[in-house]
Symmetry: C2
Subunit: 339 residues, 2 copies
């Protein structure tokens, strides 16, 4: 299945917007053969495209406003013509296959909910992140869209994540784990204890029981369901710990001349590895449960990260993840009194 | 200041009890010059000590029962003569300076609360962990004693952690951060938003604002306060990520012959580094807020880890951390209506 419609790329969101976003669009078009439209200030974007001799390769859709990186959910109401709002609008009208933005996560989530609406039967859209486990990624959600949730939402996140794992990663009957602080059923706070009970009796979920923080990268389960507060803290802790380990390693290697010689030999391999673990290379997080595909690239994304996010968005649109989630949510809300 | 009383070491708790615990006790006595008593089954412990020719160096206190690693809080009520209960009793009677156990965390917390009681003015004892930042560790608490907390408790954890950082790590006016999902005051769930307000106006706390998951290892603050659910997930995620990074690195290095040559040169440095990051080497977590010093060693601790935990327990007892926390809590509960 393929979708010839372009990716609507928010050119004004991100720490390095618009130049790295534009460079990412050019990379996605030239190196990955994707169709991309840039959404933002035409004058600024035209000049940036000209630097790449790419003014004829990447169309621009006008949006004169933008959400700044420190603006939160309310700004999406105040700025109906922001670049992220216009990008969502392109998807809603059927003119684009998916949205990609490296802007403020809170702004993207709020704008996506406002412009694309949640799918029928979906209680709350959630942010899903693919962790770099092998052979297939473990999907962690919610990674930050909902700081406050109810147990039923953790069950629905399990469904959203399982559908994502099936379609995006080809996992049959994904195993779902519930993130908490011990493997026994009674371990955790009230929220997860109740969610544990619900998950045990939920049709269509292969519930593998509780998982803990150290299971994020072991590949023990295919999907990890958690609230957006815990998920966000865990994800950022993981990224920080990996960065810390590499920094310490570099300093440790630099300590002696012999070691430095050894280090020179393997520098390229360490760089490769770091890249694989780097959030930027995964292409970003996905906002699941909306009437449209929205990929949230890391705020610090540079051209490579933006291009990878466009690839991810195109793949998700082609795989039909959004319609599949819609069908699943609708059938669950019919069969399950809780939803 | 020094304390000549021995450390009461729970010889029956831990994945590798009793042999690694006994080996750790022998190491602590011989290599660190500490006084240690082993608490557990005399017959078993005598034999294990005999293997080290140490029957005359380490006294034994009898406890015929033990909590198993998968037993939780209730078991501490059912087994008043468990090894951890007897160890706590020795501290309570003044016959030991501190307790060390590598047993089930839930069992240690419940037994500690039951046998040693919380200090006056302390709402809830909390588990504090020293993260390996430089030049001084960042104290994270609560790392798992309280899955469900109120905002006032997060404020008190800040006090407990600050007192610990001052006395155990020599930090003047420790900076305290609140763990949440964004740097702005309004980021997070209801619990942390309210705690943020309270911390801003709490006398005696140098509140540095919100911190996020990636700040655990940057040394940005001296103390991180959080609920025991989030703290436990974050801590285990951090440990898992560091372990993952090293495993991946080892496999990546093994990939090519050139790299393997380089790796041989620096193997010892990598091992050193890993050891510094390894939870076992820190000596474990500390249960703050009780009428006595309790150190919780990692369940997987081997002799080195147990010996380090005994060192930590002896240092904390000498530094007078417990009396200082008691004074602080009492004065806070007088001056602050919330407690």
């Amino acid at each position: 299945m393929s979708d010839s419609r372009p990716i609507a790329l928010d050119a004004m969101g991100g720490d390095h917007a618009p130049h790295e976003i534009v460079a990412g669009a050019v990379h996605a078009v030239r190196e990955r053969g994707l169709a991309v439209v840039l959404v933002g200030s035409p004058r600024v974007l035209y000049e940036a495209l000209a630097d790449h001799d790419a003014t004829k390769e990447v169309p621009i859709v006008r949006a004169e406003e933008a959400l700044s990186m420190d603006e939160g959910a309310l700004a999406s109401l105040r700025r109906p013509r922001s670049s992220i709002a216009v990008a969502c609008h392109l998807v809603r009208r059927g003119d684009a296959a998916a949205v990609v933005s490296a802007g403020s996560t809170a702004g993207i989530v709020a704008t996506g909910k406002l412009r694309l609406k949640g799918q029928q039967g979906v209680l709350r859209p959630a942010i899903a992140v693919a962790l770099p486990t092998l052979p297939t990624p473990t999907v962690l959600l919610d990674a930050g869209a909902n700081a406050e949730v109810k147990p039923e939402m953790l069950v629905q996140f399990a469904h959203l994540g399982a559908t994502y794992a099936e379609l995006a990663h080809g996992v049959q009957d994904p195993k779902v784990g519930l993130l908490t602080i011990g493997s026994e059923a009674e371990k955790g706070n009230k929220l997860v204890k109740r969610a544990h009970e619900l998950l045990q009796t939920s049709p269509g979920i292969q519930f593998a029981g509780n998982v803990e923080g150290h299971d994020l990268l072991t590949g023990k389960v295919d999907v990890i369901t958690t609230d957006g507060f815990t998920g966000n803290v865990a994800l950022k802790t993981m990224e920080g710990a990996v960065r810390y380990a590499f920094t310490e390693l570099r300093e440790s290697i630099g300590d002696s001349r012999m070691a430095r010689l050894g280090a020179a030999m393997q520098r390229s391999r360490i760089r490769d590895l770091r890249r694989r673990l780097d959030a930027e290379e995964h292409g970003g997080a996905v906002l699941l449960g909306l009437n449209g595909t929205v990929v949230i690239a890391h705020g610090a994304s540079r051209a490579q990260g933006i291009s990878a996010a466009c690839r991810l968005a195109a793949d998700l649109a082609s795989a039909g993840v959004v319609p599949a989630i819609g069908e699943k949510a609708a059938s669950q809300s019919r069969s399950h009194r809780l939803w």
